[in-house]
């Protein structure tokens, strides 16, 4: 347990899902699922094991407890409700993943690199451990899991099965019913037959003839026959047979992939073989024939792992950018689970979307991802570059490098450039948030806004004033900064009323402009030119004053906020953090600190600086008006922190300790060089995990019908409403819609009117009305709806209807109680109408 009040660094997303193959839970009819449907997808994610719902794509549970990377997860073959997981911290844990409870912890001692289980092995599992005394040599050992009463057990009873195996879990596979085990490394294939205690070793030639590369990359075993499939670095797949003979072994070759085969998986009966690689195409081979194959292309990013569910109905692919795709047995894409997408390089920095409070950064190539911090999901991905991405080494791609939001999030500015150094092909795009489409729409595209790379970009943030005050400043390596303003479009034919154009170009001694920043009230603009910071009046564009702290170029600048708005903070390359007073135009204080990240909190005067010194990142939080930091945390994490962002909290958190008051209004997030997202939390682990377990309980209690799924979603979203008020537009509508849905579900099916009649009401309830329809009207419609249903069946059902009404009102709470009078009027009308309709019969 962590002592109360201590600040912990918590991983909250983006950690590599690619630690191990994902595992589908076995079919669990007792949960009320349809027969044979795998309900959960279990996935190793950093130090955690994540449980996803296959049907709703949601993260249901995060099982933490390992102290290092989780390297393997396998279902307990004797109890499908349990899961084994292995980790680099040297322990194997047995989990009840339905409840997220660790049942047992077996301490093995050395690093565990992969985990395998066998149904035939009674009480032992197989792990890959490094060989003692030799570097980069690994062995496969079987671990006898001791039976004991306690939770923490020691399992030191190891017996070596194979020596000299590969470190990746893809390099070992167990054959049909555990009769043999196969390991591949470099160009050697080893097969060990357990019963006959026979070890066969086969080697391919190391020569790289005709562009071939025989090194093994992965291995899979046929579930019913003696057949081994191996993937190779040159894209070939070999199918080995007759491998119990030293000499008379034989193999056939399948070749479609043009680059390394990343993973292979056999279908349940072994008639189909799935393979995937960097092409992001899933290939399905039938009957081991090279002529019959099917493809599932455009999966988005290279495939890292492929796993099959135990009933063979689903398979899932893990991608290198942390996406999970679930694919039907007929090779149709079903759904994808995506958290923080890992991009090649986060050039945009961490930006917070003011509208959704989502974190915005580079996603898949050329896209901007909006990542919801609350539920670790990607909200959406905005295609900025709008070009087909072609995977090929050495090809120059266009990518997104800068992004900025206006204060309300109505405008989004993006900069994209191609990778070529000499001619970057710059494009500045301005996007307007379209309320009805609920998305950003391209407003203006400016080709070559600067003659060289754009280094920084910011909007003038002014909440109070209207759109007139909105200006955008870009700084470029072509030694100028440019000011862009909105102008009314004079052309009546034009589809939009405003567009952006350049208003002012400023420069300073022909130095390269590196950073820009507006003061809080928008009256001053600070632009750094190499070693100098210049301050400009934003009304007249006059140069007010300059600051300089040689030696070293300015790396970051920002203005102080609120009470500290008279200060300007700058960090230089030579490890100085300077604070200038704008009133006296003098240096207030400076500190020797190698700052890599300088991030002001938008809602308070605090500024966070992250330094990188002798391979550790340290966090300093300070107020500009005093040189002494409020908070220091040394050795924040092992990885280098590249980016940070303050995300305002929806409601201020109750923080007991004086020391952490700076975390009250907003939360600080970091992105490390391995693209893991971290945050600082004062809560203990247990507190953080409670909401997700509730969700699991809700899901279990529901019978599975399409309606219940729908209902489940609504309920969850309502539940989230309590936590998250960030997306008012979408949620309000759905709240109104839910009575309609509930009414539909509560009425017995045999008294419901025809579906065509219900359809319009149902769809209307889901639509986002243009002018905000009052809640009363919607509720009335629902009432009508239920009325009809009752009346169609019987006339004497008035009392029943009353009951229905009250129950309904209970559900709706206060809102509908007020409406009851007007409703009754409506009801009476309808009743009359309906009677006449029935008498017509």
């Amino acid at each position: 347990m962590v002592a109360p009040g201590a600040l912990r660094v918590v991983r909250c997303g983006g950690s590599a899902l690619c630690g191990a193959r994902a595992v589908f839970s076995a079919d669990c009819k007792q949960v009320g699922r349809g027969a044979g449907a795998a309900a959960y997808l279990l996935c190793a994610s950093g130090d955690f094991v994540k449980v996803y719902s296959v049907s709703t794509e949601e993260t249901l549970r995060l099982m933490g407890g390992h102290a290092d990377l989780v390297t393997g997860i396998q279902l307990n073959p004797h109890n499908h409700m349990q899961l084994y997981s292995s980790s680099l911290d040297g322990t194997i844990k047995l989990w009840d993943f339905m409840d997220g409870i660790p049942i047992k912890t077996f301490t093995v001692g050395s690093k565990l690199l992969a985990l395998y289980t066998l149904a035939s092995a009674e009480d032992s599992v197989f792990v890959v451990i490094p060989k003692k005394g030799e570097r980069d040599t690994y062995q496969l050992v079987s671990v006898k899991l001791t039976k004991g009463a306690g939770q923490d057990l020691e399992s030191k009873e190891l017996s070596v099965v194979l020596d000299g195996v590969g470190a990746s879990m893809k390099h070992i596979a167990f054959g049909r019913q555990g009769a043999y085990v196969v390991s591949v490394k470099n160009v050697t294939l080893q097969v060990y037959f357990f019963k006959r205690k026979l070890l066969n070793r086969f080697s391919l030639s190391t020569l790289k003839t005709k562009g071939g590369d025989n090194r093994f990359s992965c291995v899979a075993c046929h579930p019913a026959e003696d057949c081994i499939a191996t993937g190779h670095a040159d894209g070939k797949i070999r199918l080995w047979r007759n491998f119990h003979h030293k000499k008379e072994y034989t193999y056939s070759t399948l070749h479609w992939h043009h680059d390394i085969v990343m993973d292979l998986a056999f279908s349940l009966e072994g008639t189909r073989l799935l393979s995937g690689g960097v092409e992001s195409v899933l290939v399905q081979w039938h009957n081991e024939s090279s002529c019959q194959k099917d493809f599932l292309p455009r999966l988005g990013s290279p495939i890292e792992y492929i796993s099959m569910s135990s009933d063979g109905a689903l398979c899932c692919t893990l991608h290198t950018d942390n996406r999970i795709s679930i694919i039907n047995s007929n090779l149709r894409f079903s759904r994808s689970i995506q958290g923080l997408i890992k991009s090649r390089d986060v050039k945009t920095g961490l930006v917070v979307d003011p509208r959704t409070k989502a974190l915005v950064l580079n996603g898949e190539p050329g896209h901007l991802q909006f990542y919801s911090l609350q539920n670790d999901q990607q909200l959406f991905s905005l295609d900025i570059v709008q070009r087909q991405y072609i995977h090929e080494a050495g090809l120059k791609q266009s990518d997104l490098v800068k992004v900025a939001f206006s204060a309300q999030g109505t405008w989004l500015a993006t900069v994209e450039e191609s990778e070529e150094v000499t001619d970057p092909e710059l494009q500045l795009k301005l996007w307007f948030y379209h309320e009805e489409a609920q998305s950003f729409v391209l407003n203006t595209r400016i080709n070559t806004p600067h003659d060289n790379h754009i280094t920084d970009m910011c909007f003038r943030d002014m909440d109070g004033l209207g759109d007139d005050s909105l200006i955008l400043v870009t700084t470029g390596r072509d030694c100028v900064f440019k000011v862009w303003v909105m102008v009314e479009d004079s052309d009546p034919e034009a589809q939009q009323s405003v567009s952006w154009s350049c208003d002012f170009v400023g420069s300073y001694h022909n130095y390269q402009a590196t950073n820009c920043c507006f003061s809080e009230d928008g009256s001053l603009l600070a632009v750094s030119f190499e070693e100098t910071v210049t301050v400009w009046d934003s009304l007249t564009w006059d140069l007010k004053c300059t600051f300089c702290h040689p030696p070293g170029n300015i790396r970051k600048i920002c203005f102080g906020r609120l009470t500290c708005s008279k200060y300007l903070i700058g960090a230089t390359d030579y490890g100085f953090l300077c604070c200038w007073n704008l009133l006296t135009c003098a240096l207030e204080w400076s500190a020797h600190l190698n700052v890599v990240v300088l991030q002001p909190d938008p809602v308070s005067e605090h500024i966070a600086a992250v330094s990188w010194l002798s391979k550790e990142s340290s966090l300093f939080v300070f107020k500009p008006n005093e040189p002494r930091p409020i908070y220091i945390q040394r050795n924040l994490c092992k990885e280098k922190i590249l980016l940070a962002a303050f995300v305002p909290r929806d409601e201020p958190e109750m923080i007991s300790s004086e020391k952490y008051l700076w975390l009250r209004k907003s939360q600080l997030f970091f992105l490390t060089d391995t693209q893991e997202l971290m945050t600082l939390s004062t809560k203990s682990l247990e507190e953080r995990l409670t909401p997700s377990s509730k969700q699991l309980a809700v899901e279990e209690s529901l019978p599975v019908t399409p309606f219940s799924l729908l209902l489940g979603k609504h309920r969850r979203q309502q539940a989230q409403e309590d936590i998250d008020l960030g997306k008012p537009v979408v949620h309000n509508k759905q709240e109104q819609a839910s009575p309609a849905v509930k009414e539909l579900l509560h009425t017995p099916a045999h008294v419901l009117p025809s579906a065509s009649f219900l359809c319009t009401i149902f769809i209307n309830s889901l639509l986002i009305s243009k002018e905000n329809k009052s809640a009363e009207e919607v509720a009335d419609e629902v009432e009508m709806e239920s009325e009809k249903a009752e009346d169609d069946s019987d006339e004497e059902d008035v009392t029943a209807m009353e009951q229905e009404d009250t129950s309904h009102m209970e559900l709706l709470g206060e809102m509908t109680c007020k409406l009851s009078k007007s409703q009754e009027k409506e009801l009476r009308k309808i009743r009359k109408m309906d009677y006449s309709w029935i008498s017509a019969f």
Partner: protein, 429 residues
């Protein structure tokens, strides 16, 4: 070291003839090969795959099929409609017997080598008895419409399977009746194209293996008339097929130049259930592989690109050595070029004519590896056409360049060459 002038002779336009069929001696010691120009060659496996015998071609004789029978006797049959026995000691075609059914597409010998069966254009299958000093017509089997493209005799000798276009049939040798007729193209939907059964084999277990123009190798149970397995090995036609003696391995040649091996492998370790699995592909040829053979330790293939490839099976070779090396016979083994040293003349031998060339010369000298400019271009002096349908067997030019001789299977001719200035004259001696 002395200095040498190296001539790069790029004017010998020899077009080698493609390999049409192969026949492995039942005991695996010899391999007979027929080329598209009618030449027959015999290779001796024991003597390092030495080309032992060559019987030159004949204009009127196109060999479609070869087989060994009655010990070491070699028979060939072709589109001329004749069955020819080759005199391997005299290196000539010895006796010919008319098959009596039009062009012969295929010929097989039975297990003991006492009988030959031929498949003819008119759809008949005829049995010939091999007697000392020749062959004798024995009887006709059931005749059906459609040319018989391939034949296979069951090792036990009771049945013959005959492949035609779109179907194959199984014939009982004793009664001469067709006992089963199987359509091979019924599985291909709306097949407008005809499906040619290019090669067929009848295994002792009663399985019929067929290779067809859709690139499929199919395994049939002929008694039930059912398809047991189908392997689509290629998008182009499968042209040839050979089964190993132990019937656990099959080699298939396709029209893309690739050959494939199929092996009968146990599905599970220690289990009895076995299945044919396509294992190794080989791409040695650039054109159609018209002929394949399966020796106990090697896969042999010959194609229209005139190459003969012997690929040893590593698992069958006991030790690493000369036998374990892949062999390609690309160049002719006989001497086709003769040189008149003093007169600087070259004589090239083609199948039907000879060409006499004078080498170019230079007056300059240079260092090692330098290309010297020619002051006199090589000159085509004379082309000498042989008479008659027989192909030239060997030829020679005398060192002084005045005598040219060649021989065919039946004749020897000697010519005197006289060069006077630009004119060249030939006189038959």
């Amino acid at each position: 070291m002395g200095e040498f002038e190296v001539h790069r002779v790029r004017f010998f336009g020899l077009v080698p003839a493609g390999v049409r069929c192969l026949a492995c001696h039942p005991r695996g010691a010899r391999l007979a090969l027929a080329r598209t120009d009618g030449a027959v060659e015999v290779y001796n496996f024991a003597a390092n795959y030495f080309q032992e015998k060559v019987i030159p071609g004949h204009e009127a004789r196109a060999v479609e099929s070869l087989c060994w029978a009655a010990g070491d006797r070699l028979f060939g049959a072709g589109l001329s409609g004749d069955i020819t026995e080759y005199d391997l000691s005299g290196l000539r075609a010895a006796r010919g017997v008319d098959g009596g059914g039009g062009p012969i597409w295929s010929m097989v010998a039975n297990g003991s080598g006492t009988q030959l069966a031929i498949g003819c254009e008119d759809g008949s299958v005829k049995i010939f008895q091999v007697i000392p000093g020749g062959i004798q017509f024995e009887r006709n089997l059931d005749r059906r419409k459609g040319r018989v493209l391939c034949l296979s005799w069951q090792p036990s000798g009771t049945h013959i399977v005959a492949g035609s276009i779109d179907f194959f049939r199984v014939i009982n040798v004793a009664s001469g009746q067709t006992v089963q007729r199987i359509m091979v193209n019924h599985q291909v939907e709306k097949a407008k194209r005809e499906c040619v059964v290019w090669a067929i084999a009848l295994l002792s277990s009663g399985t019929v293996v067929s290779a067809d123009s859709f690139g499929r190798v199919q395994f049939w149970d002929w008694e039930q008339g059912t398809l047991a397995e189908s392997h689509t090995i290629s998008t182009s036609a499968a042209l040839s097929l050979a089964v190993s003696e132990r019937e656990d391995s099959i080699i298939v040649g396709t029209s893309t130049g690739a050959t494939y091996q199929l092996q009968l492998l146990p599905v599970k370790l220690g289990g009895l259930e076995k299945r044919w699995v396509r294992t190794k592909p080989f791409q040695f040829h650039s054109h159609d592989v018209r002929a394949v053979a399966h020796s106990p330790s090697a896969l042999i293939s010959g194609g229209l690109d005139a190459q003969l490839v012997i690929r040893p099976l590593m698992e069958k070779v006991q030790k690493k050595g000369y036998d374990a090396v892949l062999r390609k016979f690309t160049f002719p083994h006989r001497r086709l070029v003769s040189c008149a040293r003093k007169a600087r003349l070259l004589l090239f031998q083609f199948s039907q004519y000879l060409e006499l060339w004078r080498l170019g010369s230079t007056e300059e000298t240079g260092k090692d590896g330098e290309v010297l400019p020619l002051c006199r271009m090589p000159e085509h002096l004379v082309q000498l056409k042989s008479k008659g349908p027989e192909h030239i067997y060997c030829s020679c030019v005398s060192p002084c360049g005045t005598w040219v001789g060649y021989s065919t299977a039946s004749r020897f001719q000697l010519y005197r060459v006289r060069c006077d200035g630009d004119g060249v004259s030939l006189r038959k001696v």
